[in-house]
Amino acid sequence: MSISIDQSKCIGCRRCHDVCPGTLIKINEDKKAFIKYPKDCWGCTSCIKECPVHAIQFFLGEDIGGKGSKVHTEKVKGEKNDIVRWFFELNDGSVKTIDIDPKESNKY
C-alpha cells in the first residue's frame, strides 16, 4: 500500500513532506512533491489530510488485495462545523463518499 501524488495539482507547499512520519516525501526541482520511497509508506494518511489541493491519494497494494481504488479527503462545510469527506474513486470510475464529523467521537 502506498500513496500517489498528482503533480499537476501540487503547489509545492511542502506540508506533506513535513508531516510524513517516515520523511518519505521529497520536493523536486520544479517544486513538486514526489514519494521517494513508495515501499516504505506506512499508510497513515497524514500527508493526504495535510494536502490543501487534494493532490495525494492513497491505495492498497495488489499484494494485500487492492483493487485499484484511490482515496483522498477534503474538508467541507457542515451544518455546525467543518466535516471531513472521504472520497473513494473506484476502479470502474464511480465515486463513493463517507463524511466524518471531527466533533463526533467513534461509536465503537
Binding site: W42, C44, S46, D63, I64, K67, N106
Partner: protein, 590 residues
C-alpha cells in the same frame, strides 16, 4: 557535513506520545535550578531549557500518526487502579512490575482530563459522563490526537523542537549520560548535544521479523515501521539493564490491512470463528496472547482460515464501523468498499510478525518507579520502558509525566546553579578533548558510509536477511511463532554474520545513513531478543514466547524477570525476583 553543538538542560529523544507529554510537563515546572551550562545566553526564559529531538516531525510522528480509536487504559466508574493492575498482571501471567503499573493507573484519568482540555473529543452521555467501551476503555475521536499534543508542545515555554534529526548514540561516561549524538536527515548537519538529563522516548521496535506482506506492502504493519528500536539499542550498547525482551508482542489483526480487531470484537461483539463457523476463542482463553495462539492453532489443525464473525450486523453498525476504521486504519474501510462489507462477509484475521513494544508487553528498559534507568541521568518513558504492559496512550502520557518530574528533580539535585563555568580547569579540558574525539569518530563513520562505493549488499538486502533469519529461526510467522534452542543458536549466528557485513554498506545521503543505523539498531535488539528467548525455559505466554523445547509453564523456576546487560560485548543474563504483591516502590540497588 556541518557540525552543530547544542547545550540544553533536559534532552528528550523522540517527540511521540510520551516525549511530547514529558516536554509539556517539564515546561510546566517552574522551580528549576538555573545552571550555568544550561542557561547560556540563548536561553531566554527563566525555566529549564528543554530540547525535543524527533527523527520525523512531532505533528504526526510515531504511533499516533494515523490517529487512535479509543483510550484503552482508563479507570471507569466503580473501578480502581488496583483493578487495572490486576488485569495487566493476569494478562502477562504475573511477569509485571506492580509499582510501575500502579503509578500509571493512578494517572490515567488525570492525563485524560488534560487531553480533553487540550482539545481531544471524548464521547459523553447526557449527564456529561464519558461513554465507556468495556471496563477500561473510553470512546474518543482520536484522529487528531497527535496534532493536539504537538500544538501543546509548541505553546510550552522554553521548549525547542528539532524535527527531522535522528539520534543514533548516547554520550555516556562512567555510567552517567551527558548528552547524545544525531544528524539532520535533510540538512547535512551533525548534532552533538550536551544535556544535564535525558529522557529516552523513542518507542518500541518493528521490522525485526519478516512482516506479513514482505513485498510492495512490507510496511503495512501494525507498529510504526519508523520506530526501529533506537532507544533500546543505544541503551543496550551502553550497558543499561533491560527486561523481558522475550515477551514479544504479536497483534491479532484483520488480514492484509493489519487493521485492529478490538473494534470489531468489542464494538459489535464479533466472535472469533474458524472456517467451520465454530467459535474457538473459548477453547484457548481470551488473554491477548491466547487470542493469537488460538488462531494459529486452528490453522495448524486444518480449520483455517479464521474470522471475526460480523455477518448479520445491522446497517447502522456497519456504517459506524466504516467510519471508526477511517479514523484509525483507513485501509480496512477501503477494503470493505472494494469488496464485501462486514455485514455480508466475515473479516478474516491473522497474527502479525512479532514486535518488541513495552507499551503492550513488558519489554524495555529496567527502570525504577521514577522511570530512572540504570544509567545515571537517563530516564525512559512509553513503549521503550519495560515492566508495565497494557500502557497504551494514557500510560505513555503518564510515564512521560513521571519521567519529566524525576528528570527535573535530578537536575535540581545534581546541577549546582552557582558552579563557576570552569571548575577544575584541567578536568574541563580533558572532558572537552574526549568530546571532540568522540564527535570526530562519529563524523568519520558517517563519512565512510557516504564515501565508500561498490558495497556488494544494500541496506535493504541485509534488512531482509535479518528478517528472514528471525522469522525462520527465532519464532516468526513461518514457524507459528515457535522456536527451539537449536534454532535460536542458528538465528544468533546469522544475526552476527549480518552485523559483520554492515561496515561495508554505502549511502548517498544522510537519510540512507539513517537506514544503515536503523538496521544496526535492529540487529542489536535482535541479539537481545534471542538471548532472552533462550533463557526462559518455559512457555508462559503462547505465541509471544512459544518455546518448543519447554512447552509447559514452569512456575517453580520462572516466576522471575529475565533481565540482561551487555558486559564486555557479551549479553549477561540476570534473573530477578518478582516485586512483592502490591509493592508500590522499587529502587535500583547500586
Amino acid at each position: 557535513m556541518k557540525i552543530e553543538k547544542i547545550k540544553t538542560g533536559l534532552l528528550i529523544i523522540g517527540g511521540g506520545t510520551a516525549g511530547c507529554y514529558a516536554a509539556i510537563t517539564a515546561a510546566g515546572i517552574r522551580d528549576v535550578a538555573n545552571n550555568a551550562a544550561s542557561n547560556a545566553a540563548e536561553n531566554k526564559g527563566d525555566g529549564l531549557k528543554i530540547l525535543v529531538v524527533e527523527k520525523a516531525n512531532i505533528k504526526r510522528s510515531g504511533c499516533l500518526a494515523a490517529g487512535v480509536n479509543a483510550l484503552n487504559a482508563y479507570i471507569t466508574e466503580g473501578r480502581t487502579p488496583k483493578d487495572y493492575v490486576d488485569y495487566a498482571k493476569k494478562d502477562a501471567d504475573g511477569i509485571v512490575r506492580e509499582d510501575l503499573l500502579y503509578s500509571i493507573s493512578e494517572k490515567f484519568n488525570e492525563v485524560t482530563a488534560h487531553l480533553e482540555k487540550l482539545g481531544l473529543v471524548i464521547l459523553k452521555d447526557k449527564d456529561g459522563k464519558y461513554v465507556t467501551r468495556g471496563n477500561r476503555n473510553i470512546k474518543i475521536n482520536g484522529e487528531n490526537i497527535k496534532p493536539i499534543l504537538a500544538a501543546a508542545v509548541a505553546k510550552a515555554p522554553n521548549v525547542q523542537v528539532l524535527n527531522h534529526v535522528n539520534i543514533f548514540d548516547f554520550s555516556v561516561h562512567d555510567n552517567k549520560i551527558d548528552g547524545a549524538f544525531g544528524f539532520g536527515i535533510e540538512n547535512d548537519t551533525f548534532y552533538a548535544i550536551e544535556a544535564d538529563a535525558v529522557i529516552v522516548a523513542t518507542g518500541g521496535a518493528s521490522g525485526l521479523y519478516r512482516p506479513n506482506n514482505p513485498g510492495f506492502s512490507r510496511h503495512k504493519m501494525w507498529y510504526p515501521p519508523f520506530n526501529t528500536g533506537a532507544g533500546y539499542a543505544m541503551g543496550i550498547r551502553h550497558g543499561a539493564e533491560m527486561t523481558t525482551f522475550e515477551m514479544r508482542f504479536i497483534a491479532l489483526r484483520c488480514k492484509d490491512t493489519i487493521a485492529p480487531t478490538g473494534t470489531l470484537a468489542q464494538g459489535v461483539g464479533a466472535k472469533q470463528v474458524n472456517a467451520l463457523g465454530e467459535v474457538y476463542e473459548t477453547k484457548y482463553g481470551i488473554s491477548t496472547s491466547e487470542r493469537v495462539y488460538g488462531t494459529v492453532a486452528e490453522n495448524l489443525e486444518g480449520r483455517g482460515p479464521c474470522y471475526l464473525r460480523t455477518v448479520g450486523i445491522s446497517p447502522e453498525q456497519e456504517e459506524s464501523l466504516l467510519k471508526a476504521y477511517l479514523n484509525m486504519a483507513p485501509s480496512q474501510t477501503i477494503r470493505w468498499i472494494e469488496n464485501d462489507t462486514p455485514s455480508k462477509a466475515n473479516v478474516e484475521i491473522e497474527g502479525t510478525e512479532p514486535y518488541i513494544v513495552g507499551g503492550h508487553t513488558a519489554s524495555g528498559y529496567w527502570v525504577d518507579t521514577n522511570r530512572a534507568t540504570t544509567i545515571e541521568g537517563l530516564y525512559a518513558a512509553g513503549d521503550v520502558a519495560g515492566g508495565a504492559p497494557q500502557k497504551y496512550v494514557t500510560g505513555a502520557l503518564a510515564e512521560g509525566e513521571i519521567a519529566a518530574k524525576s528528570a527535573v528533580e535530578y537536575i535540581n539535585a545534581t546541577v549546582d546553579r552557582h558552579a563557576p563555568l570552569q571548575g577544575a580547569r584541567n578536568d574541563v579540558e580533558t572532558e572537552a578533548t574526549i568530546k571532540e574525539a568522540e564527535i570526530a569518530s562519529h563524523v568519520a563513520e558517517i563519512e565512510t558510509y557516504l564515501s565508500q562505493k561498490n558495497s556488494l549488499y544494500t541496506t535493504e538486502q541485509l534488512e531482509e536477511a535479518m528478517q528472514i533469519a528471525m522469522d525462520e529461526y527465532a519464532g516468526g510467522i513461518t514457524t507459528g511463532y515457535g522456536y527451539t534452542e537449536k534454532q535460536l543458536n542458528i538465528a544468533k549466528e546469522k544475526i552476527d554474520e549480518i552485523e559483520s557485513l554492515t561496515g561495508k554498506l554505502s549511502a548517498t545521503d544522510l537519510q540512507e545513513v539513517m537506514y544503515i543505523y536503523e538496521l544496526k539498531e535492529r540487529l542489536t535488539v535482535c541479539k537481545s531478543v534471542i538471548a532472552h528467548l533462550a533463557t526462559r525455559h518455559e512457555t508462559r505466554w503462547h505465541s509471544f514466547a512459544e518455546n518448543l523445547d519447554y512447552p509447559e509453564k514452569d512456575n517453580a523456576n520462572f516466576r522471575k524477570y529475565v533481565n540482561s546487560r551487555l558486559e564486555n560485548g557479551e549479553i549477561k543474563i540476570i534473573l530477578r525476583d518478582l516485586t512483592a504483591e502490591g509493592q508500590k516502590n522499587y529502587e535500583h540497588q547500586h
